[in-house]
């Protein structure tokens, strides 16, 4: 075991363990509060073999999101979604055996302060946090308190990131390194950007932490291609477009299964049973490190003062 593995948190250990089986990592995204029964999507994602699940807390001004995630956020906010309600929903869930990684913009983290925010995430059972408008040089305020709360702050790297900062991102990111595949916003694209391979190659030379490629990955072919360079993929807009079009959890399970198969080394020999076994293994791995959610007023600290 390397030092970095020893220092790794639960999300990172889980992703490393899954990577070591030779499978590409799959992290689907859902906007919290998008429908009344939105947490059913999380179950469907877990059933389809997700290795981690990203839960977006919608923000009024999502400056790094394309139209699909923007629309999803607006829809959720119009339904009355909020940090408190989404985290309360998560707290009420049984352990899915898959790490939950929350993503949101820094204004929502600052609203009650990073310390309170991270404690609330932990109470809700989340293990990681992605904040796309918090670059590494501004991240100190969050990373220290996140570590104390047991939340792994994931940093993003971009094709425009020069080497010194990339090294700092690789060193300071927890859970995994989020490689932004292209110079653009979130959203489906017709092909994987050429910048994706170059960026993941540069990150890999700096760290053995898992590297997930995100932005624009929407089809099994793109996922397969992404896995040639990175440890796995984040799929957001392709999921949320379907959700916005009315697709239910079962439809998403079918879609994500096609991505799962594209990311597995020999898709034809893997059966649903294999998935179940690996998930059970994963569950054991996770539950040792994950505090059970408290039922009584799980996120009381986030209520407005």
């Amino acid at each position: 075991m390397t030092n970095s593995t020893l220092a790794a948190g639960a999300v990172e250990r889980h992703l490393r363990a899954r990577r070591d089986t030779g499978n590409g990592l799959l992290m689907p995204y859902v906007t919290g509060g998008i429908t009344s029964g939105w947490t059913d999507y999380l179950r469907a994602f877990a059933d389809a073999g997700a290795d981690a699940i990203e839960v977006g807390l919608p923000f009024s001004d999502p400056t790094l999101d394309g139209v699909t995630i923007q629309r999803a956020g607006d829809t959720a906010l119009a339904r009355g979604a909020s940090t408190r309600r989404i985290l309360a929903d998560l707290s009420g869930l049984p352990d899915l055996g898959v790490p939950l990684v929350v993503s949101t913009y820094y204004n929502l983290v600052l609203h009650d302060g990073p310390e309170t925010f991270c404690a609330a995430l932990r109470e809700a059972g989340a293990g990681g946090l992605i904040v796309p408008d918090l670059p590494v040089h501004e991240a100190d305020e969050l990373t220290d308190v996140a570590a104390e709360a047991g939340i792994e702050p994931v940093l993003l790297a971009s094709p425009a990131t020069p080497r010194p900062r990339l090294a700092e991102i690789a060193r300071r990111s927890r859970g995994f390194v989020y490689a932004v595949s292209l110079m653009g916003t979130t959203g489906e694209r017709t092909a994987l950007a050429a910048s994706a391979a170059e960026l993941t190659g540069r990150i890999r030379r700096l760290t053995d932490r898992p590297v997930l490629l995100g932005f624009g990955i929407s089809t099994p072919d793109q996922a397969r291609e992404a896995h040639r360079h990175a440890d796995g993929v984040v799929v957001g807009a392709a999921v949320m477009r379907r959700v916005l079009d009315g697709a239910g959890p079962d439809d998403l399970r079918v879609f994500l299964t096609t991505l799962r198969q594209a990311l597995d080394p020999r898709p034809s020999t893997r059966s649903v049973t294999d998935h179940d076994e690996s998930r059970r293994r994963a569950r054991g791995e996770i539950s040792r490190h994950r505090r059970r959610p408290r039922r009584e007023d799980p996120v009381g600290t986030l209520r407005p003062r």
Partner: protein, 401 residues
């Protein structure tokens, strides 16, 4: 009558309104909260600006454009009839007389020259009422650059004439349909667009907001207002420096430029916000559009839409340096209502023959109110920046009057 003793004695020359601290900080505000994909681009803008701002060649080229194209220096106009009625001596810094009709041109010419120096071929801008968009389209045409202006769909409907002006100047105007379809959404969309165009385009931010170095750089490009006004006041006033310096604040660029000329004087600085867009007066600590500052938010931390009769003050936050000046007590921020602003606009038109922009009318409304309730003691000298002319607002005013 308000408690006049609230004023802290102005600080002596101590670097206030100088360069920001490390990591683009004004006190605890500012910073570069940009997506990783924009961090390098911001760094390039900062490096280019630092170099250009100490280069006499760049300063000379900008001074020449400001003189021969924008019509600087702008006059300082004593508002004699209004002064007599108010019992104070009111001097107006006439940014409304610049080419394109507002102070926005000062910043845009600076950034457009910088863009050329950086080898960029296109300017990206956000606009609310269209003043910054028109100024950007103008500077782009002047320097042979492309211009892409993002404007909320609702603002496009409200400001059809400015949309036409921008298109006539050769700019592409992109309607923004996201969110509230106003300035804050146009700003978000401009940032998204810039992420995909950093090598080729410069994002010409229109106010003292956005990631470092924009709040600092835009204030420096607007500093010309304060510096000219200071010299003009020295010639005009027996005391040399006015007792009060007043400007309207949306994001706060004309106020920042004006205050910068007086930060090291005993003048009391007053920023006037719209009642429905009072970031400095009622905002809460947050991060939006790349900087840490004060923003109007609901109990869940969502940014609240601003509401003002003046589109230029329709922004739910305030530049980080204003938040800092507020905390220091060096500047004070007050609010006026739509009705007070409209009344002030009419009063200026009828006493001085000047139709001000509704933004600027907010600053005047405070002067009128403060002179009436004794906050401005009789005989006080007041410099007020008249940031823009009111032509763009006549249809709004026509419906109200």
């Amino acid at each position: 009558m308000r408690d006049v003793t609230l004023w802290r004695e102005p600080v002596p020359p101590d670097g206030t309104m100088g360069e920001p601290l490390a990591r683009g900080r004004f006190g605890e505000y500012g910073g570069r909260y940009a997506p990783e994909s924009l961090v390098e681009a911001c760094h390039e803008v900062e490096a280019a600006f630092r170099e250009a701002w100490t280069d006499p060649g760049f300063r000379g080229a900008l001074a020449r454009l400001l003189a021969v194209h924008a019509g600087r220096p702008t006059p300082l106009t004593p508002a004699d009839r209004l002064s007599e009625a108010l019992g104070v001596r009111l001097l107006l810094k006439r940014e409304d007389l610049t080419h394109t009709g507002s102070h926005k041109i000062n910043n845009v010419l600076g950034q457009a020259l910088l863009a050329v120096r950086m080898g960029r071929r296109r300017l990206i801008a956000e606009t609310g009422a269209g003043q910054h968009g028109v100024a950007t389209a103008t500077a782009a045409a002047l320097l042979g650059l492309g211009a892409t202006v993002f404007m909320g769909e609702r603002d496009i409907e409200r400001q059809a004439l400015n949309v036409f002006r921008m298109r006539m100047l050769g700019a592409e105007v992109v309607p923004v349909t996201a969110g509230s379809r106003t300035l804050k959404d146009a700003t978000s969309e401009a940032m998204r667009h810039w992420v995909g165009a950093t090598g080729e385009a410069h994002y010409c931010v229109g106010s003292v907001v956005g990631p470092d170095p924009y709040p600092w750089m835009v204030r420096e490009f607007q500093r010309v207002i304060g510096e000219e006004a200071r010299a003009q006041c020295a010639a005009e006033l027996r005391t040399g420096v006015p007792d009060h310096v007043v400007a309207c604040v949306g994001g706060g660029s004309n106020a920042a430029g004006t205050f910068a000329g007086f930060a090291d004087t005993p003048a009391r600085l007053v920023g006037v916000e719209a009642e429905g867009g009072a970031g400095a007066s009622r905002g809460r600590l947050g991060v939006l559009h790349g900087c840490r500052s004060l923003f109007l938010q609901d109990d869940d931390g969502q940014i609240v839409e601003a509401h003002s009769i003046s589109a230029g003050l329709d922004y739910p936050g305030v530049g980080p340096e204003h938040a800092h000046l507020r905390d220091l007590g060096r500047a004070r921020y007050v609010t006026v209502t739509d009705e007070e602003a409209v009344e002030a606009a009419v009063r200026l038109a009828r006493t001085e023959g000047i139709v001000p922009a509704l933004e600027s009318a907010h600053a005047l409304a405070w002067v009128i109110r403060a002179a009436g309730d004794g906050e401005l003691p009789s005989g006080s000298t007041v410099l007020m920046t008249l940031s823009g002319r009111g032509d763009k607002d006549v249809s709004t005013l026509k419906e109200l009057l």
